[in-house]
Symmetry: C2
Subunit: 383 residues, 2 copies
Amino acid sequence: MNYFSSNFKLGILGGGQLGKMLLSETRKFDIQTYVLDPSDEAPCKIACNKFFQGSLMDFETVYNFGKQVDVLTFEIELVNLDALEKLENEGVKVFPSPKTLKLIQNKGIQKEFYEANGIPTANFKKFASKKELLIEFIETKLPLPFVWKCTEFGYDGNGVKIVRSATDIENLPDVECIAEEIIPFKNELAVIVVRNVSGEIKTYPVVEMEFHPEANQVEYVICPARIDNKVAQKAQEVALKVSEKFNHVGLLAVEMFQTVTDEILVNEVAPRPHNSGHHTIEASYTSQFENHLRAILNLPLGNCDSKVAGIMVNLVGEEGFSGQVIYENIEKIMAIDGVTPHIYGKRETRPFRKMGHVTIVNENMDEARKVAEEVKNSIRVIS
Amino acid sequence: MNYFSSNFKLGILGGGQLGKMLLSETRKFDIQTYVLDPSDEAPCKIACNKFFQGSLMDFETVYNFGKQVDVLTFEIELVNLDALEKLENEGVKVFPSPKTLKLIQNKGIQKEFYEANGIPTANFKKFASKKELLIEFIETKLPLPFVWKCTEFGYDGNGVKIVRSATDIENLPDVECIAEEIIPFKNELAVIVVRNVSGEIKTYPVVEMEFHPEANQVEYVICPARIDNKVAQKAQEVALKVSEKFNHVGLLAVEMFQTVTDEILVNEVAPRPHNSGHHTIEASYTSQFENHLRAILNLPLGNCDSKVAGIMVNLVGEEGFSGQVIYENIEKIMAIDGVTPHIYGKRETRPFRKMGHVTIVNENMDEARKVAEEVKNSIRVIS
């Protein structure tokens, strides 16, 4: 297949920042792209060859879009699965496959998949409704606290809650959900696995994540994780196993807990470029976006090693500000060596909205960590 | 000035591969761009916010385009200078400045500028026409061989010839030209200098260039140059002096000869992103394109140091092939660690046309050099 400056067309469902960073790679290789997104102001609106405005959850819209391309991928999991299945049956290559996406889209099914395939994960129970959860709580004394997760349509901390009391349960929405054991952990880790159509598979180095205590969004992603080599190796082995069991094609970001006893438990996965891999643009020989592209086009995978240490700081909208965005002190942080801001192109900021990220790279990890803190304390996303 | 996700507009004259790689940076920062190019199939046609088709040499076209933007830059020197001057007088910021461009656009004026400012360069004589050159040759016995250069509109080896005989002179076009002493040199070197509006100035490491013997196009750019530290330092000092004497804003690529006696002589300069800096995308902390953008917007300059060794191989159209391009063996070279092809997006190949480049990065220079040769011997740009 000739992808380069040819008539080949890649379709991307979703036109947000992940798609935008993927487009940077398709431009580099001059691969034609069509993008579908519900918003007329999507960050992907430029830099693709053709932009389509429409719902990602609507069968007809996704199907009609998909019929125009040779390979179809997505940058968000919330897409119409039936359309993907029909497209695949009719010969459009869909990567990651609808079959994999089906196992991942619903967190209950995802957890059952881990259990069935011997992949270590926290204990959980699935409930069809809030009522079922309440009955279980009352009848069997479901121990408090636990982690509540709705099985569908949650992202970035939405749809995840720590339940500490009966009142907390009553305040939950009435949806299918799981109750998960709270894991006392040392670290939250992530490993990005990339696997191409032929089954060539590679992992990026393990990263370590720190979350914002309120918004439940990642604040720092640190690569490589400052953990024991044996633990890192175990994390990579688990991640490889997850990708292989899913028979996954493309990127798979595997989020994990390192428990207090150095066990590795899989938390959840994302079958696409991921926030925990943004530093790879500056820090790695091959960025996660380029490797996603290589994987779904069945090109040889690029080197996942790092050139230098990398830390990523998310730029989220400051509380108390809504409206036309201003990146306060961006010039100040750009004066520091190894600091690169990425601005996603959303005109309007609002509290906790993901507006961009900053990558800090340095030969020395301690120095990178210092700079990352300086960056975080300087830049503010306001209006 | 707020550039990020704002109403600010950057205008770029020229929509070729240099503009395309610059757009990759404006997308990263979400800076709005308008591009003007004569071709409807320009590589910059997508990824800018607004594309205008029109002549870069036409006063009205350039002027009307420039009136719509806040800062104007160019990716090619062959643009209408009068329009730039008028725009600058009317308050549009033009970087590099028309004044500098005027000194550079004409190779005769450029050489006279070096002489006047004590910048070492090969001896030369300027002639208004072929007739004047012939008279000089006959009357004063201008020694053969010499380098003939037309003073205007030459690029990539067009407009440069080694003259070895009277017949060679007779075959030259009748244009203003210079005759330049042939310098016996050890190496052709280049240093990219970046200087912002406030005068902050940095240089990239010295690179070493190898040219294709027939097409006079660069085949390998090697960073850092494998030369003595003292010579490298001298080259950087000369380059800094050139940039400062021009009072230059933006990137300035300074091409130089390292003579057999380790003198540094300036050959010529380009006031824009340059082929000798393409490796900076993968090898440097800050790419030349990002630093050009930072410079012309008066943002702090990024670190010019390298993370790893970098080598660039140009992808030029193979002799004997014209038409819809095919990048033969591109998948083979992509399987090698540290190899990144850049495809410019020109559908039609023709002999010696610049179609793309490949960057090879590695911690180890010797290894990078081996891989570069493998790349060069594998990939072919055919039709």
